[in-house]
Each structure stands twice: as C-alpha cells, then as structure tokens.
C-alpha cells in the first residue's frame, strides 16, 4: 500500500481447513488408541480381572514387574543424567558417533537386543571364561550368604533388569539431553566465574533446574521397561514363578490358549501405566505451582 492511499483490509484464506487437518490427523490417532483400549475392555470382565489378580503366578509377576521397572528407572536416571549433560554441553571428537551409538537401542529390534545380550554374557570369553561365569562367580558367594541375591545373570532377575535397562536408558538419555539443552548455559558460566568448577556448576545450577526432566526421564524409562518383551524373553526367559514379568505373562497366557487371561493382564498393565503416568503428571504440576 503506498502512502496516501485509503486503507482496505487484506483478504487471506480461511484457517478452517488447516485446523480441520490438524485435529483430524491427531484425532484419528487418538481414536485408534481409544478403540484399542475399548476393544480390550469389551473382551474382558471384572470377573476375569479378579481371577487374574488372585492367580498367585500373576501376582508374583506383578510384584516382579514393579520391582524390575523401578530398578531399571533408577539405573536409567543415574546413567542418562551424565550422558545427557555431556551431549548437551560439550563438543568432542567423534561426538556424533557417540550420540548415534547411544541411540542404537531405540532402533534395534528388541529380539536382537536380547540375543546380543545373551551372546555377550555367554559367548564372549575374557581370560578363558564367559562374562556370565565371571559375574556368577562373584554373585555366588553373596548368594550363599543371602539366598535372595541371585547367583548369576542369564535367565535370572538381573537379566530382566539389564534387558529392560538397555532399551529404556536410550529414551532417558534423549530426554535428559533435551532437558539440559533447554537450560541456559550462561548461568553455569556465571557460577564458574563466582568460584565453582564445572562440577559445582552442574550440581548447584544445572541439575536443580533439570529436576522435572529427571522425573520425566525416569517415568519414560519406567513405562518403557513395563512394555519390554523381546529382550526379556530372550535373555531372561519367561519361567513361571521365576523370571515372569507382566509383558511375558501375556505371552504365556496366549501360548496356553487363555486369551481372556491374556487380555485381563494386558488391562492390568494399562491400568498400572495410566496410574504411574498420571501420578507423575500431577506431581509435575504441583511442583510448578
């Protein structure tokens, strides 16, 4: 518009098709998830759920799942915080390669991860012995002292945790990297001019700001561990009463033809996941108030 001409509004295209497409595409995915949950709900009943919960094998599986997922989440946080900080803050040779390797568990087929762990522990020899034998040797003494401590890794509870951790930690690392990248590094630099080293700047300035990210990383790792089936099946097995977790319980129930039991356990997993995710979201909201 040139100076002196009377103003007239500029006509542009309506935004209705844009918002229709946005809501349409995301809505379809939302409906798919709701449909899947509704299908599960229609195939099971309160009686089936109650029967599943009363089953001692399934109850043992629930407790073992809660235990292994929690240990996996804690380990994932312990590892992902330093890894995420390194990736967010420092440039170093082969950084892209390091970053790519940490992402591999996200893209590898889960069965391949389980198989790789099995081979690592049982086929790779160090000093004439497999890693399983080395670790088993150390654990055996502890096992003699306390029977609750497992005497090895493969096909035992530590294998469940390691299989879950190998995959879950990759997601936690990604979350922590994004978290630290979102924190202004200038604050740490100012802290360093005020008298602390890089470690002080990390503990006193960066990590407190990353608290919500840490919770998110732990939650994501927990939820991911809950659903891990392939690596757990291959590396830990699915022995009833020993290494059975909820993900493998579904497999076992299907394999004996008990579809109702399998769906009931699936529904239990969905309920547990929703409770954990909702609790963490509520906790996250409280911290911002």
């Amino acid at each position: 518009m040139m100076t002196g001409e009377p103003y007239s509004p500029v006509k542009i295209k309506s935004d209705v098709p844009f918002f229709t497409a946005l809501w349409g595409i995301s809505g379809m995915y939302f409906l798919l998830i709701v449909a899947v949950l509704a299908a599960d709900a229609s195939y099971t009943s309160v009686h089936d759920l109650w029967t599943a919960v009363k089953d001692p094998n399934i109850r043992a599986s629930i407790w073992l799942t809660l235990y292994t997922c929690t240990v996996t989440a804690v380990l994932s946080v312990i590892v992902s915080v330093p890894a995420g900080y390194i990736l967010a803050r420092f440039n170093f040779p082969l950084k892209k390669f390091f970053d790519a390797v940490l992402d591999i568990p996200i893209v590898l087929p889960p069965l391949v991860i389980g198989l790789s762990l099995l081979i690592l522990f049982n086929q790779v020899m160090i000093g004439g012995q497999s890693i399983e034998n080395w670790v088993g040797g150390w654990l055996e003494g502890l096992h003699d002292w306390n029977q609750n401590i497992p005497s090895g890794v493969t096909y035992k509870i530590p294998a469940i945790i390691l299989a879950q951790f190998t995959v879950s930690c990759a997601f936690a690392v990604r979350t922590m990297r994004n978290t630290f990248e979102g924190i202004d590094p200038r604050q740490e630099e100012v802290a360093m001019t005020l008298g602390c080293g890089r470690s002080g700047a990390f503990w006193l300035i960066a990590l407190p700001q990353a608290a919500r990210g840490v919770v998110a990383a732990g939650t994501l790792a927990w939820a991911r561990a809950l659903g891990e089936f392939g690596p757990v099946l291959v590396f830990a097995g699915a022995t009833r009463g020993s290494t059975e977790v909820l993900a493998t319980t579904v497999f076992l129930e299907i394999s004996i033809g008990n579809l109702e039991g399998a769906v009931a356990v699936s529904f239990l997993m969905i309920a547990v996941a929703i409770m954990v995710l909702t609790s963490v979201r509520i906790l996250g909201m409280r911290q911002t108030v």
Binding site: Q187, V190, A191, M192, T193, L194, G195, I205
Partner: protein
C-alpha cells in the same frame, strides 16, 4: 588493572588476532563494535570462559591467561543477567562468597550489605520469577560484586532495559565505582551509554581495538 596483550582467539571460523587493550586500576573502559565483531568472545576470554590460542591476559601483576574462570576472581554480568532460576535472591548474592569459602553467616551478611547498596534488600527472600528487568540486573551486579573482585566484565548489561531503568542502572554503576575499586570492561552498542560511563572508549574493528575517546 586489565592488560590484554597480542591476544588471539579462535571460535569455529571466527577469529581475533593480536588484540591489545589496557584498563587501568579503577578504570572503566567501554568496548563497542558491530554485531558479530567479537566483543563478547573477547569478554569471555577475559573471564576465562573461552581459551586464548595466543597472547596474554593480566590482572594487575598476575598472568591469568591459563587460569580457570573460578581462579581469576573476576565478576561477570552477562547480557540478560543469567539469574539462577532456582535460587532466591539472597542466596544468589551469597553464592560467590560461599564458593570462595566464606562462612555461611559472613556470606549472608555480605549479601545483605550488597543488597542494600543496590536497593534490592527487600527482595532477599524472593524467587527470581517475577523480578523486573531492572531488579534482575541489580541482582546480577550484586552477585558479581559480592566477593569484591578487582576486575568486572559487563556484557551489554543495559540492552534489555527501558530508558528510565537504564538511567537508574547507569547512576547505580557510577555510585558503585566510588565505593568499589574495580577495573571494568563494559560492552555496549549505545554511544550515549559509552560516553556516560566510560573513561575510555574503544571500538573493536577488523580484529583491532581502536581507541575512540578518552575523558
């Protein structure tokens, strides 16, 4: 005193070569220059946040070129203040003294002292959320001065402020100079700010520091 001699800095494709600059004891030197000419890089080098590839930086008789930021005893006020998001104002002012090994009570006493001097004594228990731009810059200044540094570096400390607040902070800096004997290196784009605060004004141009003015 700040003495920069034949300083060379590389940051990716960017470089500064043979930079020479001297700020006398209790002097206030302002450095200006086009965006992207390397002013902030030079300041970061003085603070120890970027490594120099050649030359030297001295604070008085001490060569600080290879010292880490914590070892230089420099006060740094970055462009947006970089207030610590999770720390109350009083704790931020006491942060430097605590890191330098002062006792908790001595650090808090100093924090209250500097807070009163900067007109933010009433904000000591406040979280940084909700502080105005002027208040944030006062906290940043107080945090940098709490340990009584001999050298202070300011990276466009007034750029995000409105005219009235900018005037207040300029007056504050002038009064702080009377009570605190520091040598200051101040970066700005504003000629008016440079002439108001600077004893000497330099321009960083084509990798060289050229003196423009001296009062």
């Amino acid at each position: 005193m700040i003495e920069i001699r034949d300083l060379c800095v590389r940051a990716g494709d960017f470089k500064l070569d043979n930079i020479n600059l001297r700020v006398p004891d209790s002097g206030y030197t302002v450095l200006m220059g086009k965006t992207g000419c390397g002013k902030t890089t030079l300041l970061e080098c003085v603070c120890g946040l970027k490594r120099a590839q050649g030359g030297s930086i001295r604070f008085g008789s001490h060569d600080v070129t290879s010292l880490r930021p914590a070892e230089r005893g420099v006060g740094f006020v970055p462009q947006d203040g970089a207030i610590f998001s999770t720390m109350k104002v009083g704790d931020q002012l006491a942060f430097g003294p605590r890191m330098r090994g002062w006792t908790k009570s001595a650090a808090l006493t100093r924090a209250f002292e500097i807070g009163e001097e900067l007109g933010i004594g009433h904000l000591m228990d406040r979280s940084p959320r909700g502080l105005s731009g002027g208040e944030r810059q006062r906290v940043a200044l107080g945090r940098a001065l709490a340990c009584r540094p001999q050298v202070i570096c300011l990276d466009e400390p007034l750029s995000a402020l409105d005219d009235e607040t900018r005037e207040e902070i300029c007056s504050l800096i002038e009064s702080l100079r009377q009570n605190h004997p520091f040598a200051a290196l101040h970066i700005t784009h504003s000629r008016k700010e440079a002439e108001r605060l600077g004893d000497e004004i330099f321009i960083l141009q084509a990798g060289q520091c050229i003196r423009v003015n001296e009062s």
